[in-house]
Amino acid sequence: MAEAVRRLDEMNPLLWLVLRRVLLSFVSFLVVSVIIFTAVDILPGDTAQRALGREATAESVAILRSEMRLSDPAIVRYGRWLGDFVSGDLGTSMVSKRPVADYLVPPLRHTLLLGAIVLAVHIPLSLFLGLVCALTRDTPLDLGLSALVLVAMSVPDFVVGIFLIVVFSVELGWFPPLALIDQATSWTDMLYMLTLPILALNAAMTAYVVRQTRDSMIEVLNSDFVRVARLRGLPPLQIVLAHALPSALGPAINAIALNAAWLVGGIVVIEAVFNYPGLGRLLVEGVRFHDVPIIQAIALILSGTHIALNLAADIGTTLLNPKLRTRSS
């Protein structure tokens, strides 16, 4: 054991760090899976009874109970569930007897699409706003933008969503209230339908990145190397874009990655508000029908993604920042 640790120590410290982060993430994934399993398991009432509802007969409940092997001890069911999950078997929907994976594919696709578009807007938009704030530091523009993004962040995303629906579709009639993308006749039509959800999600995410970019940009702009660059007479735009911005990006990238991790949860809520056919809606329906396998699969996918994105953020920041590359970090 001691030998192994010593050998690991001699490895590339960066590799060791990444490895440690990956292991930690794996442990958190396990912990999360236990929480998901027990949380659903300890809900009051009999799982089979809940799935079948008000009019279920005693016989059908008994059949479902034995099908689900509900009488096995929790630890056995947990092991079976996680084992199946890791080997790609997400289980079978309790109510419809259809494989959970079949339910997940189209919504997952829709959620990834929405998430990707949101990030595609989020990244340039928030970096740009952060840059503007840094360059116009302490002017009314800076203060106004900072206040705006902070307010947008402070309001819960579903409230922003409903607010956008009320203003832009009910009052003004500019955008459709629901993202019924199956009705879209073209790509532009679809993007048009997605405008409000994209805005709502960006509202919640922008502030963090803007603040990070602004602060680190200001710090960099005050640093010696930028001063030297200025003294050498380089054009201001070149200083900002080619020298200052890359050095200031670290914290912003970390913030973006954390936002992406947040998005995994936030998108669920926004999908419900805009009736978007993604994982969030499926999750809400799963809860409604007490379809435990669906709830567990989605919860595990979402939290797994969250952990993976956090891991990516960690590693990304480390790689970008030499100061953090020591083992003590």
Binding site: G45, R109, H110, A116, P176, L178, D182, T185, E285, F289
Partner: protein, 517 residues
């Protein structure tokens, strides 16, 4: 630049998602809509039926969207008219013997299924044998318990005879349940779940449980000439009420099957939308265990009924969309409904009854309810009304998802709501001593006997008289307070013609709907 590696998968995902979505879209609307004169009717239900939903009538669930889908695809021998009398659909006429235990149905000739095969007595036999097979697990086994599957006989290709286990004088009404939808013979349960073949006005184009929308195309061989009036129907669910309203008002859907009772002012003033009110037999009320103190004294139960200001409750909960009820579960417009003096809000009388029952200082009771459908509002309004009579109510609110499984039938005093169709259902589902859903623990032998007698009385006049006595008993003795019936509200775009919401969605007729422009 290694930090940017993180984003590359995202870009790839965009492309993958794009390709995937492109595929979905190609399957969906644009191709059909591009045909130009294709008329599509877009219907939105409320509660999502999710993975639970099925096109198999035998295993049907109750959501609005699911019921709408079934009426698009299938038909029954008998359907319900708007005042809940039987109306011919796939059966042209019927008759019974003088006891009411043998029923003969003449089937409509020249009806074809979606696959072109003719509708005959064989399909009727297949349907009923299938749904009554206990192995299938259909609720039909209870709903249609009177039918003996071994004694259904095809007299000829277009005549079917049911010999019942016991007389059922209103048997045609039992066949109006959506469970009894006729399916083409030979279909497996797996087929019926997502691609059932019926005789209805539309055939299934695409149905995946839990995925919206489901798509149905006009059945070219439909038996009613000139119908249906549209080429294509999309059914989806929009669980959020506000979202459903916004979608109708913006024009993302043409018909909204279910609207809330309150908060419709804006929609009503919308020039492009009709808000449609249909009277229904759905009642809101309270159920108290008649065998549990303090409700085990009939005077306490009557005090509960006198302590309800019905007009006020109706206004508070529904904004006045409904009619006041008289502690009777049968709609006053229905055949066989007891017409008697309306019970009034009478605090003094309630107080007096409580005192006589040994509660001069009133009673303290827990009333269990849940948020979401108006029942918690009902509880709150009633609490205030009953207080002066000395009925001090403590409201206990459970999560909606838990109420019907863990509270209802278990707690002695709950809010409740029923939506029975036939008079027999309304009077028996929750009121017979041996009812599975006897939510008021009301065990009245005299009542049970009257219902049993009515069920054997073929003569309608005599039956009306017996049912009147039963209802009088129910009104005065039961532990159920029924203050009002609520209307059913739906909405449609003005361009939609021929839409009238049936109080029972399972008997909705979509064939006459057309779209202008």
């Amino acid at each position: 630049m290694s930090a940017f590696d993180f984003f590359r998968p995202t870009r790839r995902t965009v492309l993958a998602g794009a390709a995937a979505l492109g595929g979905t879209l190609a399957l969906g609307t644009p191709a059909v809509r591009a045909a130009g004169d294709t008329k599509t009717l877009r219907i939105a239900g409320g509660a999502a039926d999710g993975p639970n939903s099925t096109l198999d009538p035998a295993l049907t669930v109750g959501s609005g969207a699911n019921q709408a889908r079934l009426t698009l695809v299938y038909e029954r021998l008998v359907t319900l008219d708007e005042s809940f009398s039987p109306k011919p659909q796939l059966a042209e006429s019927w008759s019974t013997n003088d006891v009411g235990d043998v029923w003969t149905f003449k089937l409509r000739p020249n009806v074809t299924f979606h696959d072109g095969s003719p509708f005959t007595a064989k399909d009727v036999l297949f349907t009923f044998n299938r749904i009554l097979d206990p192995a299938l697990g259909s609720r039909a086994v209870t709903v249609l318990a009177a039918i003996d599957p071994a004694k259904i006989r095809a007299v000829d290709d277009h005549t079917v005879e049911f010999t019942l286990r016991q007389p059922v004088v209103e048997f045609p009404l039992q066949l109006t349940h959506r469970i009894a939808s006729i399916v083409r013979q030979g279909q497996t349960t797996e087929q019926l779940k997502t691609a059932g073949i019926g005789t209805g006005p539309f055939k299934v184009e695409r149905f995946v449980p839990g995925e919206d929308p489901s798509i149905f195309l006009r059945h070219p061989g439909y038996w009613q000439p000139g119908k249906p009036g549209v080429d294509r129907v999309e059914v989806r669910t929009i669980p959020e009420e506000a979202a459903r309203i916004a979608a109708l008002s913006y024009g993302q859907v043409d018909i909204v099957l279910e609207l809330p009772l309150v908060g419709l002012q804006r929609l009503e003033s919308d020039a492009n939308v009709n808000v449609d009110t249909t009277r229904s037999s759905r009642w809101f009320g309270f159920a108290a265990f008649s065998d549990t103190p303090p409700f085990d004294d009939v005077r306490v139960r009557q005090a509960l009924k006198l302590a309800a200001n019905r007009e006020q409750l109706l206004r508070a909960v529904t904004g006045g969309r409904g009619v006041v009820a008289n502690d009777l579960p049968v709609g006053p417009w229905q055949k066989f409904a007891l017409q008697t003096e309306q019970r009034k809000y009478d605090i003094a009388a309630a107080k007096k009854l409580l005192a006589e029952a040994g509660h001069p200082n009133g009673i303290d009771v827990d009333l269990h309810t849940f948020q979401g459908t108006g029942l918690s509002e009902l509880a709150a309004a009633y609490k205030a009304q009953a207080e002066p009579a000395g009925i001090r109510i403590n409201i206990v609110t459970s999560p909606a998802a838990d109420f019907w499984t863990n509270v209802w039938l278990k707690k002695p005093f709950v809010t409740t709501s029923w939506d029975a169709t036939t008079v027999d259902d309304a009077l028996t589902l929750s009121f017979l001593s041996n009812s599975k859903w006897n939510e008021s623990h009301w065990y009245n032998k005299a009542y049970d006997a009257l219902i049993a007698e009515a069920r054997l009385t073929v003569n309608e006049e005599k039956r009306a008289e017996i049912l009147a006595r039963a209802q009088a008993l129910l009104r005065d003795d039961s532990g159920t307070v029924i203050p009002f019936f609520v209307d059913t509200i739906s909405g449609s775009r003005k361009a939609v013609k021929g839409w009238k919401r049936h109080p029972k969605l399972e008997s909705q007729d979509f064939t006459g709907i057309t779209i202008d422009g």
